[in-house]
Symmetry: C2
Subunit: 86 residues, 2 copies
């Protein structure tokens, strides 16, 4: 068994309303920040998986991401390997 | 002016309570998923910056991340370039 560390990046699908993104854009003026557009706010979930190899570990993360972490109607996700060891 | 796309990954600092991470861990059993530990739930903010070059763009993202997107008492952030163009 090896430990694999992954991140799951969950973002709102294009065209889906993103009120948190609009809130960030609305605050830019108060900070005096110019030239920032197309803000999308999502989640980032980092986790460790114990599995025989990278592909077995990734299959577990895939199941977790599609079944629990992301809402497939309104969100997409991307899985990123951020290290392995032990 | 060029368009630069960045992501800001905001995660709870080590040792800081992460109730969302605990909730995910608590749900793993219901999904029949085994071997997943150390779950941390943070935010991922993607945005576009119009700036003369990459380093000017990154300075703007840095200001935004430290001043608005992350709470420096309990969170850390990492800035990731995810493309440029136009």
């Amino acid at each position: 068994m090896k430990r694999h560390r992954f991140a799951v990046n969950v973002t709102p699908k294009p065209g889906i309303l993103d009120p948190q993104g609009r809130a960030v854009e609305g605050s830019l003026g108060h900070l005096g920040i110019d030239g920032v557009t197309e803000v999308r706010v999502g989640r980032r979930v980092e986790l460790t998986v114990d599995a025989a190899d990278e592909s077995a570990a990734r299959a577990i993360v895939e199941r977790l991401a599609s079944g629990l972490l992301a809402n497939p109607l309104i969100e997409t996700y991307a899985i990123e390997s951020i290290g392995s060891g032990g």
